[in-house]
Symmetry: C2
Subunit: 402 residues, 2 copies
């Protein structure tokens, strides 16, 4: 019996995800699929369109066997930390494979590029620092340093977002001396950042969310039936979550903080606290705030993540409790199929990390961040829905499907 | 030319205030009336029903010549600190008299009681500590200690709220070696905490607010025409502010704070942070939260003030910047009549404190608290009103009437 691990956000689960899931099973010949999924806030610093509980159901109905949560401390971070946390959880759960989507579709350059950069480490880091000093963003500096170092060699194109994530998955596997074998599947039809529909059945999550919010385009061709049902139900009874719905809370938070307090928030660096305080004053929407905050030095994503940390009140001090190796200290179970449950019983005794099915059963500063983020996520509701949904975080048992 | 000072909240300005204003002028024979008024949050730890700008207009239209702000650091405090800050401002503005309302109506017991307690200071403080240790609230301990010490003497009844405030005004005058002469006017018809109407024209602010929110009783007999107009205008275009409208922000704040962070907030003492965190979880209204938080040890008012400090994110550290003597470091001008303006020109050169007509013209940690509180106060509005009202705090010049 082999086990394949996927790193996902499912925001929402769409046909591209289904394709990736099925190809991963084929390629690994696995009988159990484990997805480590971001909680309520995502890598691009956005609230998930629907809660982690609903996204867990989507995943289970579409064929995933175990859904576990990627803690906030990894889920809302740059690719390197994100990948490291995800790999540590899949490794602890005994995965044989990690299968990721990439623009390239061939695993070898991911491995050789890692080896090459490990050998050229000092030179690479000097180059990155050099480019950062010219005032470009960090991702841009990485690309430039890499190009400079790369020369004529046939290495990975690290300017493509899924190649970058894949590169760091492989790096984390190597660094954590994991037995996981990395696999990759070529992404088809939809680019990561695509805002338009290009294929009749596959579209990016970005374009699907855009269609959902604008209500201009029907999305049923691009998502499984179960996704459609859950989205419609959420739209009817709750909200489809997006930054604008949180803007009043973000603005309230910033307006009642001193610049010193803003400066203590994770990712607020280099005097950015003064700029934040100045920009929020006259901004009447999240979009307006972000546009006024944006400079060449910071990517939109980086600034959105910073806003997420402001919203959840996550300080540098609190993030410090993440251990040096950037691996997760626990595994939080969100849901399972009967196969998933059987697999868990099978490996329970060899598990290298505590497995939590309830947040009250464990105590760790990183788990406190997850709980805080879950509460912040629900604060856009009025009573009595708010209190009902806040209680979910403590009382929802892992979801069982099939 | 003599000048009389009043310490007010005008929440809202009613016929009792008008009576007090006119009697104060008669009693002091003053030609200028100065009111030092709480800003957006009041001594009982509540948001003011309408903004300080509207309340300033009410005061000016009804005969006050100068309205200056009692800073947040004094306005949301126990009687002793509240009175000390207010007296320091009236003293700096050159007031000859301070005229307060009291249940007693005779100034002599206020002075003799102060002298008596000054002489018996050590014994009095020991008694207070003794009663606090029995588990009663601080105000209750004061009353018990005072009764114990008092014996058969004919001293002030310090169990009555306006007698207490008056006692501390006189004490502050004595302690600050001010030349101000204290006067008092007997309060008639309405008790401080009265929730019912008892007189045909005079009612407490509490009962007037209650009538406004319940919409059961017309209030026109109890307030000047100008108050009625401003209240109706505010009700139509904005909100009549009350705690319940802020509950979602308070809940969001607490749910995204660690217990350590809650413990750093001003007035959170003796492990109350754990109780706060526990009680907010299941509370779906401010009333529910307060009822679950309440114990014998803390008065409702004390807990409401604590909620105000949570809402405005005011820490113990930030309150430390208040100087030892508990006197104000600045005077913020909110509004003036032409007589008030003439008086200001006349005394400008002898003013002992900086006079601010704009918050941007001065820099002090206590002023930062006023600004933060003003922003928190406006956060219940939707855009574009929120941003418009936030800007007011910076751009509203002192109001001129007549």
């Amino acid at each position: 019996m082999s086990v394949v691990g996927l790193v996902v956000e499912y925001n929402p689960f769409h046909n591209g995800h289904l394709y990736h899931l099925r190809e991963s099973i084929k390629k690994s010949n696995a009988s159990v699929v484990i997805a480590v999924m971001s909680g309520h806030f995502l890598q691009r610093g956005e609230p998930a369109i629907v809660s982690k509980w609903t996204r867990t159901k989507m995943a289970l109905y579409c064929g995933v066997d175990l859904v576990v949560e990627l803690p906030y401390a990894f889920a809302t971070q740059k690719a390197e930390t994100f990948a490291s946390g995800a790999v540590s959880i899949l490794d602890a759960l005994g995965c044989d494979y990690l299968c990721f989507g990439s623009e390239l579709g061939d695993i070898n350059p991911f491995i050789s590029t890692n080896h090459f950069l490990e050998q050229s480490k000092a030179e690479y880091e000097d180059l990155i620092q050099h480019y950062v000093k010219t005032g470009v963003s960090y991702p841009k500096a990485l690309t430039l340093a890499y190009k400079n170092l790369n020369g004529d060699k046939e290495l990975l194109d690290l300017s493509l977002p899924n190649n970058i994530l894949g590169f760091y998955y492989v790096r984390a596997i190597l660094q954590q001396h994991s037995k996981i074998k990395p696999l990759t599947i070529k992404r088809t039809s939809a680019g990561y950042h695509d805002q338009q529909f290009r294929s009749p059945t596959i579209a990016s999550a970005t374009s699907i969310r855009k269609a959902l919010f604008s209500e201009n385009h029907p999305i049923q061709s691009y998502v499984p039936e179960v996704t459609l049902q859950f989205l419609q139900e959420n739209k009817k009874n709750y909200h489809l979550h997006r930054w604008e719905l949180y803007f009043h809370l973000l603005k309230y938070r910033i307006m009642t903080m001193t610049t010193e307090e803003i400066g203590s928030i994770y990712e607020v660096e280099e005097g950015l606290e003064h700029r934040i305080k100045r920009c929020i004053q006259s901004s009447s929407s999240f979009q307006e705030f972000m546009e006024s905050l944006k400079t060449k030095r910071y990517t939109w994503t980086r600034l959105q993540r910073l806003c997420t940390h402001l919203l959840t009140n996550t300080t540098k001090e609190q993030m410090k409790c993440m251990n040096e190796g950037q691996t997760s200290p626990y595994i939080r179970l969100l849901g399972m199929s009967s196969e998933g449950q059987a697999y868990l019983s099978h490996i329970k005794k060899q598990l290298m990390l505590p497995l939590l099915s309830k947040v009250t059963s464990f105590d760790h500063p990183l788990l406190d961040l997850d709980i805080k983020a879950a509460h912040a996520y629900q604060m856009i509701y009025n009573e009595p829905i708010r209190t009902k949904r806040l209680k979910e975080e403590f009382s929802t048992p892992p979801i069982r499907v099939r």
